[in-house]
């Protein structure tokens, strides 16, 4: 016997299990980053002089990264829409671009981090850098998680398209929701850490 509503929507809620599940998971993620944002505000208001992000950080690189993530978000949603249109090739293309952009994000982040270390800026230098490394570090872990999952459905997991296309499309929608959330977190991290 199979668990119901993995592909079809339950009539009264209009949802399939995975979608509800991922939204609940994202709710907890909101609270996780919420805890860190709360810490940020708390620490910042607790001291007299809080450094401007731009003193330590590179705004151009972060702008580039913002663009990477925004674009990857749109390609992610396009890859799902392609599946909806039964166009598996386009799905492959868009998901591939998403992966590339995500990797691009990581590469830029790598250069950002190493250049901080070169200048002798470490998490322990001050609380601004501490919270910067913690928040972006956690975000990077989320990006890496996203890459792993997208890669899985791009290569080995894509076989499911042949056996169970409805379910595969749903999975991509779920992965997409997660990926947009990662983008959304960055949309807030960017001004909060770099610009204020």
């Amino acid at each position: 016997m199979d668990i119901p509503y993995t592909v079809k929507n339950r009539p009264d809620t209009g949802l399939y299990n995975g979608k509800l599940g991922v939204w609940l998971f994202l709710a907890s993620e909101v609270m996780l980053f919420g805890g860190l944002f709360s810490a940020y505000i708390f620490l910042r208001t607790g001291v007299d002089n809080w450094p401007m992000g731009a003193e330590y950080l590179s705004v151009p690189l972060a702008t580039l990264n913002t663009m990477f993530l925004i674009t990857s978000s749109v390609t992610m949603v396009m890859s799902w829409a392609s599946l909806k249109l039964n166009d598996f090739k386009k799905f492959k293309m868009y998901a591939g671009i998403t992966l590339l952009l995500a990797l691009g994000f990581l590469v830029v982040k790598y250069f950002e981090y190493t250049s901080k270390f070169h200048h002798g800026y470490f998490p322990s230098t001050n609380n601004f850098l501490g919270i910067y490394f913690t928040m972006t570090g956690l975000h990077v872990l989320h990006v890496i998680g996203g890459i792993v999952v997208i890669f899985f459905y791009w290569m080995p997991g894509a076989k499911m398209w042949e056996t169970d296309p409805g379910r595969f499309t749903n999975r991509i929608e779920i992965v997409g929701l997660y990926w947009h959330f990662v983008d959304l977190v960055w949309i807030f991290l960017f001004p909060v850490l770099y610009l204020l």
């Binding site: 079809k8 929507n9 809620t13 209009g14 949802l15 399939y16 979608k19 509800l20 939204w23 609940l24 709710a27 909101v30 609270m31 919420g34 805890g35 944002f37 709360s38 505000i41 708390f42 208001t45 607790g46 731009a54 705004v59 702008t63 913002t66 663009m67 925004i70 674009t71 978000s73 749109v74 992610m76 949603v77 396009m78 829409a81 909806k84 249109l85 749903n170 929608e173 997409g176 929701l177 947009h180 959330f181 983008d183 959304l184 949309i187 807030f188 960017f190 001004p191 909060v192 770099y194 610009l195 204020l196």
Partner: protein
Amino acid sequence: MANMTPEEVKHHIKTYVMVFVALAFLTVVTVGISYLDLGVTGGIVLALIVASIKGSLVACYFMHLIDEKITIYWTLLATVAMFLVLLFLPLSTSLAQTQV
């Protein structure tokens, strides 16, 4: 989003592209604002407003929140409420802390 016609999907795709353009534009705007000298408070407020607009665009269109099911709205409503509590209540508590 389980049962959409191809036309609907195509229509959606147009929206995605538009949202993408808006997001890119707003990113430029935020960076631009940060070079203006608006003072700390002004800068923070404006930057956060822009970020919220961007965030809502992503949530509403990419994540399809604009027409989602009631269950998800309820869940998110509760989450947002707790999120706001988490963000501001500790702060107001510490600001009211008795100190010499």
